[in-house]
């Protein structure tokens, strides 16, 4: 086992990793940027070392700075947390070359799963369904029509060279497809200098469901159930829960088993998450894998009693998994609320400033993962996550009832947060019914959502 781990991250996850190091009796060194000198993890660490300026590229994202910090502080392993260098195979390789261990999948595993398209191909070959699409670029109109017929309308026309949704077009019929193909080609040519197009099935009103897996290097793997992350705005998750209200226990079991079998067969290693889109019919399509600890991992920890950071550390040290699927028991329902420093009324604009008052909620089944303390100055350079409130209950309605109480009880003053958004969400019919889809907030507008929910509350 490792003696001393460098925590190459910040905010709540640095504190989270530190807690597990303490419990396991492993020394913890926190690497921090100049802007994070006063952060909680720095105060708690056995040792803290400044690795660079506020700019992430020169601190948390700088592989030489992080690695050098680990070496000069006598660490034998590096935990990258999430984001930053957590899925960087080059960094993982550098770490190994210097005789240290990267806590996560080994470099060659990260590399194998680095490309989204490549991973979809790989896992499709091991039995996971992916979003149906044309296997190759479209040759001509006839090819496009035949392809669309096979996939089923509506279909999405996507430029090969595009990205981030640019140049995409959705069509609902063969006639519409014929009409826009020429336009799409010339648009793609003009925008990207490449007019090749391909088709993908258009999935309407999807939910985001992900499966947590743990796999050791000896080919043993388990799943730890799914999480539903459908409450999003512009692909940013705000609330995550487990189990998914959209899946029956049987559907969940099928999806989770297929996921873990596929990644074990494909040679995955360590803790990971497979993301799926689930359409209205309940069909799941694999979209990508996250080769790291996730922000929302506590949801699953609350249901399973496992410590995923400890599992990451154990497996990276070469220990075998040591238990089987039958040993993984998932109890009740858990839900996580991401408490962000952002102004919901003004397009979720990120906020910075001093935390003047902070009082975390508590009670049975309540967990608050945060790096806040009164007087802490939230810097403007990084993401706006202030903490995660995770609430467990024997079933969904009781955990939501419990969450309603503790969210009302929570005190966080000094800067604008999304607490009111969460309070409104817990009184929203669509959410209570478990019928949220990923595009719902963007469609109705978040500010309108909060104010419409706040009104009955004010008179009631």
């Amino acid at each position: 086992m490792f003696e001393r781990i460098l925590i190459a991250n910040r905010g709540e996850i640095a504190v989270r990793i530190l807690r597990t190091c303490r419990r396991m009796g492993i020394g913890a060194v926190v690497a921090y940027s100049e802007a994070d000198r006063d952060t909680r993890a720095v105060q708690l660490a056995d040792e803290a070392i400044c690795v660079g300026p506020a700019e992430a590229k020169r601190s948390y994202l700088s592989a030489p700075a992080i690695l050098s910090a680990a070496i000069v502080t006598g660490c034998d392993a590096i935990h990258p947390g999430y984001g930053f260098l957590s899925e960087d195979d080059t960094f993982a390789e550098m770490t190994r070359a210097h005789g240290l261990t990267f806590i996560g999948p080994p470099a060659e595993v990260l590399e194998r799963f680095a490309s989204k398209a490549g991973t979809r191909h790989l896992l499709a070959s091991h039995g996971l369904p992916t979003v149906p699409g044309s296997p190759e670029m479209l040759r001509d109109d006839a090819d496009a029509l035949a392809g669309a017929e096979r996939i089923g309308y509506p279909v999405l026309i996507k430029p090969s060279a595009g990205g981030g949704g640019r140049g995409m077009r959705m069509v609902r019929s063969p006639r519409e497809l014929e009409q826009v193909l020429t336009v799409c080609r010339s648009e793609a040519q003009a925008a990207f200098g490449d007019d090749s197009l391909y088709l993908e099935k258009w999935l309407e009103d999807t939910r985001h469901v992900e499966v947590q897996v743990i796999v050791d290097r000896y080919g043993h793997g388990v799943h730890v159930g799914e999480r539903d992350c459908s409450v999003q705005r512009r692909h940013q998750k705000l609330v995550e829960e487990s189990p998914s209200p959209a899946l029956t226990p049987e559907a969940s079991e099928d999806l989770c088993r297929a996921a873990v079998e596929a990644v074990v067969a494909a040679g995955y290693e360590n803790v990971g998450t497979l993301e799926f889109l689930v359409d209205r019919s309940g069909a799941a399509y694999f979209i990508e894998i996250n080769c790291r600890i996730q922000v929302e991992h506590p949801v699953t920890e609350m249901r399973s009693g496992l410590d995923f950071v400890a599992e990451q550390i154990r497996l990276a040290a070469g220990e075998p998994l040591g238990y089987s699927q039958a040993d993984v028991v998932l109890r009740g329902h858990a839900v996580e609320f991401r408490i962000n420093a952002e102004d919901v009324a003004h397009d979720f604009r990120p906020q910075a400033g001093e935390v003047q008052r902070y009082l975390a909620p508590g009670g049975p089944g309540v967990r608050m993962d945060s790096h806040l303390y009164p007087g802490y100055e939230v810097p403007p350079f990084y993401d706006s996550l202030l903490g995660k409130l995770v609430v467990w209950g024997p079933d969904r309605s009781s955990s939501l009832a419990r969450a309603r109480g503790v969210l009302d009880e929570m005190v966080l003053e000094g800067l604008i947060t999304n607490l009111d958004f969460h309070r409104a969400l817990l009184r929203n019919e669509t959410f209570i019914e478990g019928a949220f889809t990923t595009n719902l907030l963007d469609r109705i507008g978040s500010a309108a959502f909060v104010s419409s929910a706040a009104r009955p509350q004010a008179v009631g």
């Binding site: 100049e34 000198r37 700075a65």
Partner: protein, 195 residues
């Protein structure tokens, strides 16, 4: 800072032709010199008046003033002894330019060459205390995974004390070489100590 030559009273006044020139000189020469002087003394406050403007410097906090070199001993290549692990206050050293200490902390960095990266420090061979250096001169190196990064003088001055030893593990922004600056021009008077 007993090695610093003591200077007292006034220095010859130069003719400032405009505000811009005065402000430039203030930032580049006078402030660093005044800060050096304040630090070398037991005074709590220093004030300079000239023509239509004045500058007053005050020590940030008694804690910071009493531990000017705490940043130099924060990183070690070995695990700390348990007794030391319990403390955390010492790790938030006054390098950060935050709060009331801001002007002082910023100017303070101008008179010490700081580490450009995390790594092992080596001073420039042959460079010793008392040598006059220009802004940008290399005073040593920090070895980052075998790549040497320059430690450069942030301003013209005279090499003072080395704050890290050869081969010592240093962190980003850590003060490595103190620079003594010549006093700027202007009439300087000390006011009663507050601290």
């Amino acid at each position: 800072m007993a090695d610093r030559p003591a200077r007292r009273g006034t220095t010859p006044a130069a003719t400032a032709t405009g505000d811009a020139a005065a402000v430039g000189r203030l930032a580049d020469e006078l402030l660093p010199a005044l800060i050096a002087r304040l630090e070398a003394s037991t005074l709590g406050e220093l004030e300079v008046r000239r023509n239509g403007w004045r500058v007053r410097l005050r020590r940030a906090t008694p804690l910071e003033a009493s531990q000017p070199d705490s940043a130099g001993s924060r990183v070690t290549g070995r695990p700390r002894p348990p007794a030391e692990q319990a403390t955390s206050a010492g790790r938030t050293a006054p390098l950060a330019a935050v709060g009331p200490g801001l002007p002082m902390a910023v100017a303070d960095r101008r008179r010490a060459a700081v580490s450009p990266a995390v790594g092992y420090f080596s001073p420039l061979a042959g460079l010793a205390a008392g040598a006059a250096v220009r802004s940008g001169d290399v005073l040593g190196h920090v070895d980052v995974l075998g790549v040497r990064q320059d430690v450069v003088a942030p301003a013209d001055g005279v090499v003072g004390r080395y704050l890290a030893e050869a081969g010592e593990a240093v962190e980003y922004g850590q003060e490595l070489v103190r620079l003594e600056a010549a006093l700027g021009e202007g009439s300087v008077k000390t006011v009663a100590a507050e601290a």
